[in-house]
């Protein structure tokens, strides 16, 4: 390593500041202004104490869930700005440099992919799981509330590293996949790739703990009578996602840690020389990467299942099939990773077997689509915004699935791999599949969390903008891919591509309107929250337990633990008139106390990451020591619970 590494500041020096391009500089300014603005606002409102005790140190799964979603929202702003900048660049850059220098464009697609997957989609999903699953299974909390807070804060620490890279230093240019040897020191010295590695590593630890937490929660904390085959679909998909998490994330940890070892300690896992083998990185990365896309999409499938049953006012069709299909998808997702590198040069047997394994996933996925279709069949469909997103999803997702199956056929993949055809495929899965799902879930459960409904008109507008915007932004990419346009292009010389790229840019602008509509929806609804108030706790005529309690739910969720006798437990009780939960218990309930361990470990995680990125070793070890001290300290502390009395007007969200 030729860099100067000082003891105190590592390789951090004044040249880390973003004065190298006006785009980067303004990005940094906006980030800083956003952070400062927030601090000032809280101070001005005098809300520090409320924020600290009510949220930051809270271990209530509902508050943690909301914090996850807020984090996702903050990150999505960044992710979307990146996306629209890329679209603008490509719309302009025919035979010219556009407005972005290559190095900046590279940082943008890398940060867009990283943010969207790790810091937008993952937190959004975890937030929904957090808020809803304990309510759906009739539990007072998750199995390990403090661990849950730690998970959140580690995710936030990763996101913080990601954001700070905009202000201090640069971000990776190696894409969200960080393929070596390009991502090695030989080709990309500097801190960019290190930022990428440490931000996803630290949040990955948090994610793994979330996975463990939810498996135990779902398997151990269900209300009496809630057999596995009576669990709501969202809970089922949450369970499968959690299982995928704990078994897939080690592969991400291993591949990125080895990359970090190559970069910082000069090892030779993936280098060109000295016996490195970069192919193993791709292998390990995708052992995680493929299950990851199902980690994201399975909960979305769960949301669609809830939404489609509720708004068709009908039982979910083929529930057992849906459960089996979900588990089959989860297991198969571990058997297909090679389809991301068919063009590496493996033999025909290897490629064909992985190709066929990949296509087999279309079977259970198809079953799901059909089951949703037959749930609508013979129903009474109410076109509330969540339902619109669901129908939009069903129509668009099958198209993306079809392009996925095409990519899974190795000879076709040879000519479409690394083209925008692939970009179109995965946005076609992720936007209608993952994002529409989460948005549907957000609009569906919002009244539960806040006690008032979201404005319907703006919700529908948002849907239409998203739908049309998505079609315009990504259908052209299929065509461009077939014309041979590679992904990650900063400039190009083919005039035939430009019209389609301009269409794609317009599509991204429409998506922007979709996001603006979302903001408007929130704004309008907050202003009219009295008119939109949900007094029943059950605004949609819901079927599952979360609708049986008031909106917003009390801290302890259920006054007394409900007894479940059928699949759609709440719906059943509405018909039979049998009350789910008897009178509030006499005994006081024990609720976990707030804990500062979460924020402390989050801060420690940030220090570890920042120290490792900049070679500020003392900071890294201080962070590590702080984390260990916090855990040990906490284990000496027994008084972790407080009493509450249901029925008394304790404060709730």
């Amino acid at each position: 390593m030729t860099e100067n590494v000082s003891l105190l500041f590592g390789r951090l020096g004044p040249d880390a500041l973003p004065f190298y391009s006006w785009v980067a500089f303004s990005g940094a300014l906006v980030t800083l202004a956003g952070g400062l603005g927030f601090l000032i606002l809280v101070t001005w409102l005098g809300q520090w104490r409320a924020l600290w005790t009510g949220w930051l140190t809270s271990v209530d799964h509902k508050r943690i869930g909301i914090m996850y979603i807020v984090l996702a929202l903050i990150m999505l702003v960044r992710g979307f700005v990146d996306a629209i900048m890329m679209r603008l660049q490509q719309a302009m850059a025919l035979n010219s440099d556009g407005y972005l220098p290559p190095e900046h464009f590279e940082q943008i697609f890398s940060s867009h992919g990283t943010i969207m997957i790790f810091f937008m989609a993952m937190p959004f999903m975890t937030g929904l799981l957090n808020y809803i699953i304990p309510l759906q299974i009739g539990s007072r909390d998750v199995a390990f509330p403090v661990l849950n807070a730690i998970s959140f804060w580690l995710t936030a620490a990763g996101a913080g590293l990601m954001l700070i890279s905009l202000v201090i230093g640069r971000f990776s240019t190696a894409g969200w996949t960080g393929y070596p040897p390009y991502s090695g020191v030989e080709f990309t010295p500097g801190v960019g790739v290190d930022y990428w590695i440490w931000s996803i590593l630290i949040s990955g630890v948090g994610t793994t703990m979330t996975g463990i937490n939810f498996i135990v929660t779902i398997l151990r904390k269900r209300a009496p009578g809630m057999l596995l085959m009576r669990m709501p679909m969202f809970t089922w998909t949450g369970l499968c996602s959690s299982v995928l998490i704990i078994f897939a994330f080690p592969a991400l940890t291993v591949s990125t840690v080895m990359l970090a070892l190559d970069r910082t300690l000069g090892m030779h896992f993936f280098t060109n020389d000295s016996g490195g083998n970069m192919m193993n990185y791709m292998n390990l990365f995708w052992i995680w990467g493929h299950p990851e896309v199902y980690i994201l999409v399975l909960p979305a499938f769960g949301i669609f299942s809830e939404v489609v049953a509720t708004f068709s006012s009908k039982r979910l069709f083929g529930y057992p099939s849906l459960v089996y299909a979900t588990t089959v998808i989860a297991i198969l997702s571990f058997t297909v990773w090679l389809h991301h590198f068919f063009t590496m040069g493996a033999g025909a047997n290897v490629n064909a077997i992985f190709g066929i394994a990949t296509m087999v996933i279309a079977v259970p996925t198809g079953v799901k689509v059909f089951d949703w279709l037959f749930t609508m069949f013979r129903g009474r469909i109410r076109f509330e915004p969540p339902m619109k997103f669901t129908i939009g999803f069903m129509c668009l997702f099958v198209i993306g699935g079809m392009s996925g199956v095409l990519l899974a056929i190795p000879p076709i993949n040879y000519s479409t791999h690394n083209t925008t055809f692939l970009v179109a495929h995965f946005h076609n899965m992720i936007i209608p599949g993952v994002l529409f799902g989460y948005l549907a879930g957000y609009m569906y459960w919002f009244p539960k969390a806040f006690g008032f409904q979201l404005d319907r008109k703006w919700g529908s507008r948002s849907f239409w903008f998203w739908l049309v915007g998505f079609l315009l932004a990504f259908m052209p990419l299929y065509a461009l891919g077939l014309m041979g346009m590679p992904r990650r292009m900063e400039t190009y010389g083919n005039p035939e591509w430009q019209p389609l790229l301009i269409v794609a840019f317009i599509g991204a602008c429409l998506i922007l309107l979709g996001i603006v509509s979302l903001v408007m929806q929130l704004w309008v609804s907050i202003k009219q929250r009295d008119a939109l108030k949900d007094t029943t706790g059950d605004p949609w005529d819901g079927r599952t337990l979360e609708w049986s309690i008031p909106s917003p739910p009390p801290v302890w969720n259920f006054d007394s633990v409900p007894v479940v006798t059928a699949r759609d437990a709440f719906h059943e009780s509405k018909i039979t008139g049998v009350v789910l939960s008897v009178a509030p218990e006499e005994e006081p309930l024990l609720i976990p106390r707030n804990s500062t361990v979460g924020p402390i470990i989050g801060a420690a995680g940030f220090c570890v990451g920042f120290g490792a990125v900049w070679f500020i070793w003392w900071l890294m070890f201080a962070g590590l020591a702080l984390a260990i001290a916090a855990i040990i300290g906490r284990s000496f502390f027994d008084d972790t619970e407080v009493e509450v009395f249901p029925g008394e007007g304790a404060e709730s969200i």
Binding site: L219, V243, F247, A251, N277, M279, N280, N283, L284, I287, F334, T335, W337, L338, M344, G345, A346, G347, N349, V350
Partner: protein, 96 residues
């Protein structure tokens, strides 16, 4: 919980299963292939011994979930590691 007897039996078995491969390697009294097989077999048996006697993995009883999650993990490990060796071996063979 675990009886003293269980602990001691487990330990005795573990000692035997450790000493065996070491002695075989030091003594070299088997052909190379044979020793490798012996190492592999004693390792697998010893892992099972540890799981059963020390880690409370049992077929029935209150820790049944341990066995099922372990088996699931084994299947996935087999897929991941077996797949890795297969794929990387194939690539190596095609590129060298």
């Amino acid at each position: 919980m675990r009886e003293m007897r269980t602990i001691l039996t487990g330990f005795a078995l573990a000692v035997i299963l450790t000493v065996l491969p070491f002695v075989a390697v030091i003594g070299q009294w088997l052909p190379r292939e044979g020793t490798l097989w012996l190492i592999a077999i004693t390792a697998v048996v010893q892992i099972t011994v540890h799981l059963y006697f020390f880690l409370g993995v049992e077929i029935t009883g209150k820790h049944r979930e341990r066995l099922s999650s372990l088996l699931f993990a084994c299947v996935l490990i087999f897929i991941m590691v077996g797949g890795t060796l297969w794929v990387m071996g194939n690539l190596y063979w095609r590129m060298m």
